[in-house]
């Protein structure tokens, strides 16, 4: 017997299933476009700043977004037609259902940031559903950095609106007994620091999990075709149906996650704006 594969679970030869899963995980790995993974010599060394498969599709998504909005806004008219109708519906949804609903009328001031977040995440998520493309948001690097941007923005807004010292003081609600204040303060700081993590991990994990699920059923189909047994006759159509259903579900998740990411951003900004009120 040959030397056991690294990914194999036991001392036995790797089963077709674990081989398939390993290949699937490899497909979703972050790799430089020109092939091999570079030697890891400190994450921030200059030779690690290369175009990866994920950042390539992220750039494609951003270019698509730019083209879409430039084309849509080129011929602005009172009654929009065609593509500008779609763009206007999206923009209006973000302005009314996210900005104004969560932050009130003053939320319109932060509309550009909120809209950028929404359409960036949405188009990246949706692009991941077209087979050769990978979602730019399917890697923890993109989503976590976007979470950190949100963190900096909402804290910046809070500090600008309330002043630095009152904003920090507002972490402890007024009327807290003195001996409890340090504990509450620590808890609040931790919960604020966790926000970019949860924002990033939620989006990344949703996109990644969706692609793993699709991939697992694709692996089932491939295995049942390769080793055709009576069971395959059952597994094959079931996996196919699951693939189709999951694909539809993934489209729904793509929109939902963009919505949740944006609405949480709006909630955080709203909390920072009204920090001194409670």
């Amino acid at each position: 017997m040959a030397a056991p594969a690294v990914t194999a679970a036991g001392a036995e030869e790797a089963s077709p299933l674990s081989k398939g899963i390993a290949r699937l995980l490899h497909e979703l790995e972050v790799l430089p476009l020109n092939g091999e993974k570079a030697e890891v010599a400190g994450s921030f060394s200059p030779e690690n700043f290369v175009l990866t498969n994920y950042s390539f599709w992220l750039l494609v998504a951003v270019v698509l977004m730019l083209v879409f909005f430039i084309v849509a806004s080129r011929k602005s008219q009172l009654v929009p037609q065609g593509i500008s109708n779609v763009a206007e519906a999206g923009v209006e949804f973000v302005r009314n259902n996210i900005c104004v609903d969560v932050m009130g009328p003053e939320g319109k001031k932060y509309f550009p940031f909120i809209a950028t977040t929404f359409f960036f995440v949405l188009i990246n998520n949706l692009l991941g559903n077209i087979p050769p493309a990978l979602p730019g948001t399917g890697t923890v690097g993109t989503t976590f950095v976007w979470g950190v941007i949100v963190f900096l923005v909402y804290n910046g807004i809070g500090i600008k609106k309330n002043g630095f010292v009152p904003y920090i003081k507002s972490l402890v609600p007024s009327g807290t007994p003195g001996w409890l204040a340090p504990l509450i303060f620590t808890l609040e700081v931790v919960s604020h620091i966790l926000r970019p993590f949860t924002l990033g991990v939620r989006l990344f994990a949703n996109m990644y999990a969706g692609h793993i699920m699709l991939g697992v059923f694709a692996v089932f189909m491939a295995i049942s075709l390769e080793h055709f047994t009576p069971v395959s006759a059952l597994v094959l159509p079931l996996s196919f149906v699951m693939q189709v259903l999951l694909r539809v579900f993934e489209l729904f998740v793509a929109v939902l996650q963009a919505y949740i990411f944006t609405i949480l951003t709006a909630v955080y900004i709203s909390g920072a704006l009204h920090a001194s009120e409670h």
Binding site: A8, A9, D101, V201, R202, L256, I260, I263, L264
Partner: protein, 74 residues
């Protein structure tokens, strides 16, 4: 044989970690439907709040999911 144990750990991490959020999301959904039935005119705002709560609950399950992959790779 450490490999198979870490695979078991990964499955347990996700499986057990999904119980709590599963119950939580169910409660969010049922309470939202209940409130919507009582006050249909509040449906829009309830839905917004529901999605916020949903996002926060879901994050806990997904932490287990990420942990599962960390363990699977270990």
């Amino acid at each position: 044989m450490t490999g198979s144990l870490s695979v078991l750990g990964a499955a347990l991490a996700f499986g057990l970690g999904a119980i709590g959020p599963g119950i939580g999301i169910g409660m969010i959904g049922s309470k939202t439907i209940e409130s919507m039935a009582r006050q249909p005119e509040m449906a829009g705002r309830l839905q917004t709040t529901m999605f916020i709560a949903l996002g926060m609950t879901e994050a806990i399950a997904l932490l287990g999911f990420v942990l599962a992959f960390v363990l699977y790779g270990a």
